[in-house]
Symmetry: C2
Subunit: 386 residues, 2 copies
């Protein structure tokens, strides 16, 4: 286990009706609130009205219309409001996109230049407005970490940034808010959670047993409860476990003590940047192909663990057979959840594979992945996804 | 999963040499430090000298000699120093006893009456001095939570208290500091960790799957690494996983969403209060007897989970057989770690069983345990421990 510093200080208000705590939570930071949300589903399902009613003693400014892959233009709009209105606290109501967007707005509020700078270079993030979230989708874990991903479609770029100061002060996580999600969002959100787990699970460091057991437990949670949530959208136990898994998957618990770069996210980010697809769908498509591509004498034992401890397969004498069974099971699982499992199914061809592969390796991070990947590797993985 | 609020905001500096961060950590709170420690082992193993050297620019006041079951008299001494010297921050260097003692000192510093009041009634805890810890024993999890247990031998009382404000601001967790522990402390510490896990794992609420998977993962960690640490005291991987497990077992991760009272701790606290025995040893003795006592049609499925998911036993047609195999395996495990597994082995007879049982149920908490226990139940469990 490598050295690490762990801190997950977000106050998590988890469960039915926890939104009632919002006034008390926001009160600590001030009265001028920038409320950020997405395409308007919170107006249909009543969360918008509930929040407005609860916060009637606050001065609310609104920024709606945050995109599924949130764009820098939207960030800029939010920053302008913060600067012009002296906002005290940013309240994100939505999924990871809305929360990510809110984080960069909260940082941009104290940054003198253009907000794209602090996306390109997290080191430029200085003071940050306090961020509070109301979660409506179990997926990114953004409600309990300091990460944010923003797209700049003009540049075909989708970049991750982050700061400890981006960690939300508090998050309201009410599983009932996810009852009304379209099935594909439940499935894609689960694929996103699972991908976060894999990114930490498959690392060179082998002595972080606690973290690996947590990872396996969260994978089992996703595999158990996503099908239930798809069949019975208002099954509270399923929604609660998926929502809690999303926060646990990316708050540092699984990655602490296991350094190294991620593998599938940098590849998928290129797909989203070029084609604006749903992040979780891209991850579901890429992950099994990446797994098959990196399966080797060096990695096979980890895939055997995955097969035994997550899928419950019996040990057998053929390690590769077991590893491939586990990878096949994952692909079948995503398919059974209704996720399109090839790029061609979502209208993506080979036209930009060369360019996407070049961009995916541009910053050099993939050299530090579980299995180092160069441009040719990424091209082959993406081609396998067609 | 029941509603909950989760917050584990301690900054955890985990790994080799992390004590180097101590000046930076303490700096944020002030220059006047009350350094609290136990029986002097930190003077033998060099941690005392390292800390003093690192903190040579601070004004250090010392309180040594904290007992294994820390006593209210020692708390009072610490409070007096805090009040007389206007201490800025309390630095606990030691295991759970030292940290628990430091918490009540930090709370007592702002309390006008006698510190035993805030042990008897956590609601009286107001402002609290910032607490920073350097952990030297993997056991209580006190380094990452707001709990403290203090003994008043004059009254034969050992009581738990707690406050969110008792949660340490930061903890330095260096697994190497546990290399020199006597074997029985490694074993008893592991029994303490496992007991914390059981207290959350065995609860009436059944839908908290994430929490239960985490619990099983931590139990497997203890079962895997305690024997390694006993055989090779300086095995870093073993020490690191045990130490991280201790923090994870009682920082809210396992208990969130699973309300209800604990079972074995209230019983063991009476043993410690009457006989001043090692807490972890008492827990190891009580736990398997409690398990056998509560095994019934209502609880057997949970014990089957314990057998399958923790011990890896194959499913069979006889649930009770599997449940008993799991309980026997636990008792054998403790025995194999060198823990005396009967009260008579540690010189305890039946003389106070009546009185201990009466005290254990006095505050009524055991009515809300996984299986409610009354005085007769506790008497029978303690008798089974003889």
């Amino acid at each position: 286990m490598e050295n690490f510093v762990f801190n997950a200080y977000t106050e998590m208000y988890f469960g039915k009706g926890q939104i009632k705590n919002l006034p008390k939570i926001l009160e600590a930071y001030g009265k001028k609130v920038l409320m950020v949300y997405g395409g308007g589903s919170i107006k249909k399902n009543g969360i918008y009205d509930t929040a407005k009613e609860l916060l009637k003693d606050f001065q609310i400014f609104e920024l709606g219309g945050v995109e599924p892959n949130p764009r820098i233009e939207t960030v800029r709009k939010g920053v302008e409001i913060c600067k012009n209105e002296n906002i005290d606290v940013v309240l994100a109501i939505g999924g990871g996109s809305t929360i990510d967007c809110s984080k960069v707005i909260a940082g941009g509020a104290f940054y003198d230049g253009d907000s794209w700078d602090i996306v390109k270079d997290g080191g430029l993030i200085g003071e940050v407005l306090p961020i509070v979230t109301v979660l409506t989708l179990a997926a990114t874990g953004s409600e309990m970490n300091g990460n944010a991903v923003i797209s700049n479609m003009a540049l075909n770029e989708k970049l991750g940034t982050g700061s400890r100061r981006f960690i939300p002060k508090a998050s309201v996580c009410d599983p009932e808010y996810t009852y009304g999600l379209p099935a594909i969002q439940t499935a894609a959100g689960t694929a996103d959670i699972m991908s976060h787990i894999f990114e930490s699970y498959f690392k060179k460091e082998e002595g972080a047993y606690v973290q690996d057991k947590f990872a396996e437990g969260l994978l089992k949670t996703c595999i158990k409860y996503c099908p239930i949530a798809l069949k019975e959208p208002d099954n509270y136990e399923a929604r609660a476990n998926l929502m809690w898994a999303s926060s646990m998957a990316l708050n540092g618990l699984l990655g602490s003590g296991k350094p190294g770069a991620w593998s599938c996210h940098p590849i998928e980010h290129e797909l989203s940047a070029f084609y604006d697809i749903t992040h979780g769908v891209g991850l579901a498509i890429v992950t099994p192909r990446w797994m098959r591509y990196i399966l080797s004498e060096k990695t096979v034992d980890k895939f055997v663990d995955f097969g035994k401890n997550v899928w419950g397969f019996e040990n057998n004498n053929d390690k590769y057979k077991l590893a491939n069974m586990a990878i096949d099971a994952l692909e079948e699982f995503f398919k059974s959840c209704g996720i399109p499992m090839t790029l061609s199914e979502i209208g993506i061809g080979s036209e930009y594979i060369e360019e996407m592969a070049a961009k995916a390796v541009k910053n050099g991070a993939l050299e530090y992945a579980y299995v180092p990947l160069d441009k040719e590797d990424v091209k082959k993985i993406l081609t396998d996804c067609l």
